[in-house]
Amino acid sequence: MSRSLNEVESIAWKAARGAGYPWGIAEEAAAAMRWLAGRGIDGCPALASLLERTDGSNLDDWSPEPGRIWSAPGGVLCPLMAGAALSDHARQLQQCAREFGQMASPVLFLPFAGWAAATVGANLQVTWPGGSSFTDGDGLALQGDPGWDLGGVMVAVSGEMLEARPRASRAFPDPSAWDRLGELARRVHAPASEASRRFGAGGADGIDDD
């Protein structure tokens, strides 16, 4: 089934929050999923797997520690936390490349490279064992499949930019991944309680009298 990019954004926002991420990171997840969908990539399976892995754990364990290689204290980086850090520290890429340690669902990291490229005004190449991607801040060119856990990810300014993937205005999410995200998204909804009904939370409980 085709979905609007707005729907993709919205489910990612809720699912990331439902899985325990702070709102600001949930916003990054939403924007990242939209960015990927707009370039014809279904990020839903990667996001669902990531959120199921990090669910219930301490996010600090998945967040990058600055160093020669930015890696996670728990061993595996969350691409949203690592991506946010990359995008926030984008200007440093003008001086030197940045290397990240092992990362879960690394396809979710690519949009952040895109935003970092836009910030520094240069093409960025993301390389991992077996593949790489190029972005000029807008387009994305992909060589190989970054769909699994990766040993190490290098981000560097590049003079090169391969032909970008065609843009897409609709998303075609994997149905089972969509459902898994839906399960997580539901967690942000409060169960109705006697108290909420008593306090008239919705307000428009009035009768349609005219």
């Binding site: 089934m1 085709s2 979905r3 609007s4 990019l5 707005n6 729907e7 991420y21 702070p22 709102w23 600001g24 990171i25 916003e27 990054e28 924007a31 939209r34 996010l59 967040s63 990058p64 600055p66 936390m81 946010a84 850090a85 995008s87 926030d88 520290h89 984008a90 200007r91 935003w115 836009a118 910030t119 205005s169 609709r170 539901r186 942000v188 909804h189 409060a190 169960p191 109705a192 309680s193 108290a195 909420s196 306090f199 008239g200 939370a201 919705g202 307000g203 428009a204 409980d205 009035g206 349609d208 009298d209 005219d210």
Partner: protein, 545 residues
Amino acid sequence: MRLARLGSLHQSRLSFMRVLTRRMACENWKFARITFDLDERGTGRAIYRVDGPERTYSMVAFGHDLPDEMRSDRVIAEAWDATFALLDGVPDETDVERLAANVPLQEAGRYSERELVVSRANRSSRLWEHAVKALAAGMQPDAEQLDAVGYLMRTTAVYGSGKFGAVDYADIRNRPEFAAPFQAEMLLVYLIRAFVLDLLEHLARCRGGEQAVVLDRDTARKLGIGNATGLGMAPFIVNHAALFNNWIAAREEAIRRVRSVPTATEAELALFRDRLRRSEALVRDWRSGHSVQRAKVERLQLDLQLIKARIEGWPTDENCPWDRLVEWSEAALSEEGQECLASLILEPYGTLVDELSEGMADPSDGDFRIDGSMSLAETCGLLREHYGWALGIDWRMPEETARAWYISEEKLEPRLGQRHEEDIAEFEQPLSPGRDAVRAHADLERWSPAESVAAFLLRHPEHRHAIRRVQVCRTAPYAEIHDNTIGASMLPIDMMRAKLSFFGATHFDPKSDRWVRIRMYAGAPYPGELDLGNCEDWVYPEPVA
């Protein structure tokens, strides 16, 4: 930008309905009823076609026979008197069948990139039967009853921007007709109003046959489309901070331009006086059962008299007369009166202000990248500049955090709960920018001002949302409501009023502190009547002699 002021905003030349009627008249859009296949109960379908200069759009409408007990304005209702979709282009038979299987289900249906907007409407149970009966019997409905309600049907939701699979706004924003916000939504509502009149007269004809008459045109013109708006709309202006900034910024810039006009010509003054006089009629017709709003309307009536007295015998050669008038209003009028005046002074100056509507959309679609290189000194400076009001609130006081916004599993709609009496805090939506900024500020103060936002957020991802908002304010000074959105005394209707005024709604009639009825397009010419002479001033009724 306090809530009380936002809750006093009025429609203006920049309102989205007026932007649309202006464009449709200037570009000479053509309207046609292609299909009208409804039975004597109002069940069936209709198709209306709109031709702009470059593109064609169609409204596909479905009429349903809804038993009275199922008619509800709640957004969670599951059946309506009529349901609608605005389609890109002209529908073929397959499209119509696809829509017939989905549009009547509204939120439970699925839409494609061909659909721009989906909506539904209910009859006003008070008026509908009366109006059909009267017309069927060859008489006009009672004017007093029509005036009291102001519409025959009201929409209970209008969904665009990719909802339920419909086309994303990003895909249509480059069309000139959708450059200003909510134009597709406003177009559908405009067509719904035409359908409602056609349906009314059709049912009267079915019932009365030869005896039936059509609704008097002046009476029809006065009728708008009603809308019942609940809490679902209130968070919008917080969730779309950059967009809302652009609305306020356009309005402020329009006011600034008019205040800078050195002298007013006789013609400009005459036009202002005309709109002022007709505003009195508009406000006289604005009834509300809500005590707070009633008091505001009464005061507004007085304010309009004060403005009239103030400009009597006004010399036109006075230096910057509008500036002086606005300055005077700040002490002389209520907030409702001040904002009404601010809208009114724009009326004579279309050539100065109308172009500003082009800048009211948000080209980034809400996406804002945090500038990690910003120093914490600068971040704190921005925070203090834009959230000083929040830093002055003692957030430990229970009344300052009495409410929490959340989405209920039962209704999937934004709701407002009592934080200290219900277990809802863990479900709270990020709709308290003031409190969140203050929390971030407390941690920022523990860091060296020379550090960067990037370093801070690496340690404090929980403040990422608040820091993003703070940075948005750097280029969007009106992004943030300068008031507590979770306090015990907050009125959600103020947030709704702000948004609805930009739509161009009138006759705000709050039914409680959290839902409001309004009129849209009341006074507007119908398709086929719209021309350059009436596309602008239709909001302002001619007083009845």
